[in-house]
């Protein structure tokens, strides 16, 4: 697996951040010229990927996903030129390229035609496939902030159904003016470091990043001599049919997706050891998620450690589900429940939630991740620890 976020590049950097409760969030000037103002964001560090150069702005999501793919393929021992498929989830892809194109057009100049080729979401998968010489199919899925989880879930099904033997799957998102101004217009951004599930939570911090997992049939991985990091055992999805931007506070969509994932794995719900929640720190998201896990796990919830890592990476939108997946696999292998940074006072509504601002050592054999997106798109994944 591979990952890049505000915490840096690479699985090692993220494990280090998880163990040491380090955040990648920092003040960042968003918007341009006269409208510049400071927000707390999870930008990928400048030394990992410069963010003031226009040529990286126009295809930033592609560059981020490619970095994650390269690390994942390297760890899996996959050389270029193989027939692996690529499935990526993203909400806006390289949309900054579209913004730049439109800006050039509005100002009366001749727009740069090179921007046209890259700004569609599908370009992210194309770039990774081309750079890593992966000759299989390319699929781009857009389920808003559940995109990364959806991409991994569909990849899991394709492997399970025998429709593919190996897939590099994940999610990617780059911060761009469209997304920043959009979330600002919805009054969802906090001016402070976000506090998932805290009584004082007041919104999310945007972030950017990408993560990729190489999924393959367990038997073929064994034959290939590859080290299996974890098993993907279940995928569940649901549509809330509720609202364009708000999640249903009763959590029914999330609980339906979680139960479907558990059912697809043929696991009893009480066999889960950890849930990595979406946890954006908005009032509605956190309430919906709490109600969902309460409905699924009942009285056992108080003993089920949960977390949200949005306070470390920011909300990476289409990349978030894939980043959560990497964190979940790290939790299985390292035996650590990630910290939910900035969490100080548990919202009394969430009295039965086992959450902590510090990392907790636990034996974790089975973990779930949850993702929620605009339009009520919900997706969940189940992971199981691989034998040493």
């Amino acid at each position: 697996m591979g990952i890049v976020s505000a915490l840096g590049a690479g699985v090692r950097a993220h494990l280090d951040a998880l163990v040491n409760a380090r955040s990648g969030l920092a003040p960042q000037m968003l918007f341009e010229e006269k409208d510049k103002r400071e927000f707390i964001c999870g930008m990928v560090p400048h030394d990992v990927l410069p963010h003031t150069i226009e040529e990286t702005a126009a295809n930033r999501a592609s560059l981020l996903f490619d970095m994650a793919c390269k690390e994942a393929l390297g760890q899996a021992g996959i050389r270029g030129g193989c027939g692996a498929d690529v499935i990526v989830g993203t909400t806006a892809g390289n949309f900054h390229g579209g913004t730049l194109f439109y800006k050039q057009k509005r100002s009366g100049g001749t727009p740069d035609r090179n921007l046209v080729a890259g700004f569609l979401p599908s370009a992210v998968a194309d770039f990774a496939a081309s750079e890593n010489r992966l000759t299989g199919r390319r699929l781009t899925l857009s389920s808003a902030c559940a995109s990364g989880t959806t991409a991994i879930g569909h990849a899991f099904r394709m492997i399970q159904d025998g429709r593919s033997s190996m897939i590099c799957a994940g999610g990617a998102e780059a911060l761009c003016p469209f997304l920043a101004a959009g979330f600002n217009s919805l009054r969802l951004l906090s001016r402070n470091p976000c506090k998932p599930f805290d009584a004082a939570r007041d919104g999310l911090n945007l972030g950017e990043g990408a993560a990729a997992l190489v999924l393959e049939n367990a038997e073929s991985a064994r034959v290939r001599g590859a080290k299996t990091l974890a098993y993907v055992n279940g995928f569940g999805e649901a549509l809330e049919a509720f609202h364009h931007t708000k999640s249903n506070p009763d959590g029914s969509g999330i609980s339906a997706a979680l139960l479907k994932a558990i059912d697809s794995a043929s696991w009893p719900a009480n066999s889960l050891d950890h849930v990595h929640l979406h946890g954006t720190a908005t009032v509605f998201n956190d309430l919906s998620e709490y109600n969902a896990v309460k409905a699924v796990f009942g009285s056992r919830l108080a003993d089920l450690p949960v977390c949200s890592t949005k306070s470390m990476t920011g909300h990476t939108l289409g990349g978030a589900g894939a980043i959560s997946a990497v964190f979940a696999v790290l939790s299985l292998s390292a035996g650590i429940v990630p910290p939910t940074l900035n969490h100080q006072t548990l919202d009394p509504q969430f009295a039965e939630l086992s959450i902590s601002a510090t990392p907790r050592a636990r034996r974790i054999a089975r973990a779930a991740t949850t993702s929620l997106g605009f339009g009520g798109e919900v997706a969940c994944l189940l992971f199981e620890k691989a034998p040493l």
């Binding site: 439109y102 035609r113 569909h154 049919a241 798109e377």
Partner: protein, 357 residues
């Protein structure tokens, strides 16, 4: 695994109308023309105020999706919802950027943002039709419509869904048109490729907009009625010929080289020489929707014995195909290539073949 599914309902909207039969009467657009939907008829269950806030893309999608589900007259709680797009709700994104650039972030419209995100059509359909089982928006290029149908057929065959509502939509936006013109892919000056819709008049295709949706169900559910037609995804490497006609989604775009290679592969697959039909000279370029519209044409041909006009064919492939079908087609292969080189194909068969499966 047999991946054949039945089509139990279709819905569509475009400048040519809202009925399958309206596709047969399309008048060939002029080179470089822009053909738009005048008005979207009211969609049952959607308030006028809500319709006004929606992008054209979402309105098209809602209309066609509702029509398809009504035609199928069947509802399963386990129906998946898949929408194939190339560009998303572009006019709302442009509106959002105009406010952002002119008045700053505090004046940027939350409505334009929430209705401008890529999955807005899917979430609106989900809310209208109370579809809660699952699904996603598949982004892709010129082959996307056919790709989405194939993806759904395979997912149904693997029992992930009991049925799927699958469609594709495209709205016209001047900024997109200008972007492609800047690349030389659209407009009356664009070079001619496989179909020659306008010999001697300039060769570029016009552009258009609309939406098309299908309801796909497993064959096992058709105990009390016949499907409109059958659909099976096709891997061209394994295709051994046999279709009465081939529909190609070639136009004047960068994907035509891949389309040409695919047509060569089909022509040498064996069997009798099939007739060939190019649909994009009829509809104009509609990107991912074009492949879905081609699937509608194929469905109309095998389900209703419909005939569509032929166009002059590029000399390079003319010897490989019959220029026109000799009679009604009982099987039609749709092939669509994207600008990224990915090729999707699917075989539509007459429902009379149902008993033989």
């Amino acid at each position: 695994m047999n991946e054949t599914v039945g089509i139990s309902g279709v819905g569509l909207i475009g400048p040519w109308g809202t009925e399958l039969s309206s596709l047969r009467t399309i008048r060939r657009p002029l080179p470089g023309s822009v053909n738009l939907v005048d008005t979207v008829p009211p969609v049952e269950g959607v308030a006028k105020n809500d319709m006004r806030r929606m992008s054209k893309l979402t309105k098209f999608s809602l209309f066609a999706a509702r029509r398809a589900m009504a035609a199928a007259n069947r509802y399963s709680d386990r129906t998946g919802l898949f929408v194939g797009l190339t560009h998303g709700p572009t006019t709302h994104m442009v509106e959002f950027h105009d406010f952002l650039f002119d008045y700053g972030p505090d004046m940027a419209s939350p409505n334009s943002f929430s209705n401008g995100v890529t999955n807005a059509p899917l979430s609106s359909i989900s809310a209208l039709l109370k579809m809660t089982y699952g699904g996603t928006t598949i982004m892709g290029y010129e082959n996307n419509g056919c790709n989405v149908l194939s993806y759904c057929a395979r997912a149904i065959s693997a029992s992930h869904y009991e049925a799927c509502l699958a469609g594709s939509s495209e709205e016209y936006a001047p900024v997109v048109h200008d972007a492609y013109k800047a690349c030389g892919w659209l407009g009356s000056a664009a070079p001619g490729h496989l179909p020659w819709p306008h010999p001697g008049q300039g060769t570029g295709l016009g552009v258009s907009e609309g939406s098309a949706f299908f309801v796909l169900e497993p064959l096992s559910t058709f105990t009390d009625k016949k499907p409109l037609c059958l659909f099976a995804p096709v891997d061209l490497d394994e295709y051994r010929g046999g279709a009465d006609a081939v529909i190609s989604c070639a136009s004047a775009g960068p994907h035509d080289g891949y389309e040409l290679a695919a047509l060569h592969r089909i022509a040498t697959a064996g069997g009798e020489k099939p007739a060939i039909l190019f649909t994009k000279p009829l509809f104009g370029e509609t990107f991912g929707l074009g492949a879905m519209l081609s699937c509608l044409v194929a469905c109309d041909m095998v389900a209703n014995g419909a005939r569509y006009p032929a166009f002059p064919i590029h000399p390079e492939i003319a010897p490989l195909f019959e220029p026109q079908a000799k009679g009604p087609a009982s099987s039609v292969l749709v092939v669509a290539a994207g600008r990224d080189g990915q090729v999707s194909a699917g075989l539509f068969s007459a429902p009379e073949r149902f008993g033989a499966l």
